[in-house]
């Protein structure tokens, strides 16, 4: 599922035999992946399931970054601010104001969208390195506020963030297996939503902006509005990941807004493959697994992870999925 939207004759509905082999291969792969993910808790240990939850949360966070960076061409180092805002939003709603979770989550997302629209209106007036730095500056501002604010417990962060009440289904979200399925369901929904968006007219405009902003303006598009829209949507996706992370650890702290968090998100996009819908999840999986594996071998795992990242950039053009696509292309 790449960005390229090839529109054939209008109204044409392809028969199964007419669907290209690569698409059928992708479909089979998807079904196998879905079956594997559903069966995972019954075949792996608790540690592996913990990793899977972390990968999915990181995948959603990175998908938000990918919408902005991979599809719209705006490289941001500030997306962790929205990840953190998501966590703080439900923490303030539930733990501080005593609201139920079902009210805290939508209010948090609306507040994040409004905040992101305001910040995006300023940031998207810049491009390239300037955009990267101004998003970083905003992120650091929120990080600083989170560290200093007493009513959010400053650098100690906030605890007591609830998981969803699933008693109607006869299960408890406090159980690792139930929480795994909960995160899996949210991940699938987030992916489906993003897939629809990037294949929609709105998504094609974002790709157009990435490809040639001047041309898009010349075509008659109010480019600034679409960039703000992309910024806000990406922020909401990052906030969903932040909410899940806060529920996963029952805790949120200013560290969730740190620039390292944003930087790691961008790394995951590059590793997995930018502007590919599954790229962020692949990137998150590789990132988390390689980092965990290296940390078991050596204390200097960051050094070796740096080397690993350089190798991916040098030899896997378009990230892991880009390399896979190239390989499939060569075999045909």
């Amino acid at each position: 599922m790449s960005t390229e939207v090839t529109c054939s004759e209008p109204g044409a509905v392809p028969k199964l035999s007419a669907i290209p082999v690569s698409r059928r291969f992708h479909a089979i792969l998807l079904v196998a992946l879905a079956a594997g993910l559903c069966a995972l808790p019954s075949v792996v240990s608790g540690y592996a399931m913990t990793l899977a939850v972390e990968i999915m949360i990181a995948g959603i966070f990175t998908s938000g970054i990918n919408l902005l960076t991979g599809y719209t061409g705006l490289v941001s180092l500030g997306q962790a601010m929205f990840f953190g805002l998501g966590g703080y939003g439900i923490a303030i709603g539930t733990a501080l104001l005593g609201w139920p979770l079902w009210a805290s989550v939508p209010v948090t997302l609306v507040v994040v969208a409004a905040t992101a629209s305001a910040i995006g209106a300023i940031c998207t007036r810049t491009r390239g390195v300037e955009f990267l730095l101004i998003t970083l500056a905003f992120s650091q501002m929120f990080y600083g506020a989170a560290v200093k604010l007493r009513w959010t417990n400053g650098s100690d962060g906030m605890t007591g963030i609830p998981r969803p009440d699933l008693s109607l289904l006869g299960v408890s979200a406090d159980s690792p297996v139930t929480f795994y399925y909960y995160v899996l369901a949210v991940s699938v929904l987030a992916l489906l939503l993003l897939w629809r968006v990037v294949n929609s007219p709105f998504g094609s405009i974002l790709v157009g902006i990435r490809e040639n902003e001047r041309r898009m303006m010349s075509m008659g598009y109010a480019v600034a509005n679409y960039k703000i829209g992309s910024f806000a949507l990406a922020a909401m996706v990052c906030a969903v990941a932040g909410i899940l992370q806060a529920q996963y650890t029952y805790f949120v702290s200013p560290d969730s807004m740190s620039w390292q968090m944003s930087g790691e998100g961008v790394l995951m996009v590059i590793i997995g493959g930018a502007s590919v819908i599954f790229g962020p999840f692949v990137g998150a999986a590789v990132f988390v697994v390689v980092k965990q594996a290296l940390s078991l071998i050596t204390e200097e795992y960051n050094l070796f992870f740096g080397i690993f990242f350089m190798l991916v950039v040098a030899f896997f053009r378009g990230g892991v999925l880009g390399a896979v696509n190239t390989l499939i292309g060569k075999r045909r």
Binding site: T3, E4, V5, T6, C7, S8, E9, P10, G11, R196, V197, N199, S200, P201, F202, G203, S204, I205, V207, G208, E211, N212, R214, R215, M216, M217, S218, M219, G220, Y221, A222, V223
Partner: protein, 248 residues
């Protein structure tokens, strides 16, 4: 009413006066060329007309309505579309996708976020029509970076046509093309609707003479002469400043 009217236009970059007191009227349906030596202010004029640069003073009216400076998107929506001197294409997507995105700009579907772009068949059909108009229907599914240079120039014009403009500005459409590609482009441009007003900037005088019936010559940001092909070819000032004896 003129399709395009420029009144007392001035543009200065610091102390350098690039355009001074320029007046231009282009009637509806006209094929009008703006020629002149390098640095005459042709591209600056185009950039000002299309909202990419703000004039120091003066007024531009499209179909009698003043152009909102600094908003190229609104200029296009006002009925004036342009092609660029250097290709400005969406390089990593297909020809059809370039045209579909261009056609979509004027369709309500552009706001849709949850429906596939393929489901808006009217937009796709318009993209197919635009491709056919510029003889690009056989390369619809090729990526732009796989096209020949001449085909890219055709796509430049096709994208501009997707806006269904009243006025089409073409900035050196034949620049860098081979003689065969140039002839093909001239044929395609001459085949466009006679109701479409065309303003052309071009260095290649064969292209200008083949397409346009009125020519304005710019020199140092001022109008040196305006007239028909014959008038311009025989104008001594124009011959001295730009044409030389070859085209006289």
């Amino acid at each position: 009413m003129s399709a395009l009217e420029i009144r007392n236009l001035r543009k200065a970059f610091g102390g350098l006066q690039v355009i001074s007191d320029l007046d231009l009227r282009v009637p509806s349906g006209a094929r009008h060329a703006v020629i002149g030596p390098n640095g005459a202010g042709k591209t600056t004029l185009f950039n000002i007309i299309t909202g990419w640069q703000r004039p120091s003073s003066g007024e531009i009216l499209i179909q009698g309505i003043p152009v909102q400076q600094g908003r190229p998107d609104l200029v296009t929506r006002g009925g004036l579309s342009r092609s660029f001197q250097k290709n400005m294409l969406l390089e990593s997507v297909t020809v059809l996708e370039n045209l579909r995105v261009a056609c979509q700009a004027f369709d309500a579907s552009r706001h849709s976020m949850l429906r596939s772009c393929r489901s808006f068949s009217g937009v796709v059909r318009k993209a197919h029509d635009a491709a056919a108009q510029m003889h690009l229907d056989h390369v619809l599914h090729k990526k732009v970076n796989e096209l020949s240079y001449g085909q890219k120039r055709q796509l430049e014009v096709a994208i501009a046509l997707c806006a269904e403009p009243k006025i089409l500005l073409m900035d050196e459409p034949a620049a860098g093309t081979s003689p065969d590609e140039r002839l093909n482009l001239i044929k395609l441009i001459n085949g466009l609707s006679s109701e479409l007003t065309i303003l052309l900037v071009e260095h290649d005088m064969d292209v200008v003479f083949a397409i346009c019936d009125v020519i304005t010559v710019l020199s140092y940001g001022k109008v040196l002469a305006t007239g028909t092909k014959v008038e311009i070819q025989s104008n001594p000032q124009v011959i001295e400043a730009y044409l030389g004896q070859h085209h006289a």
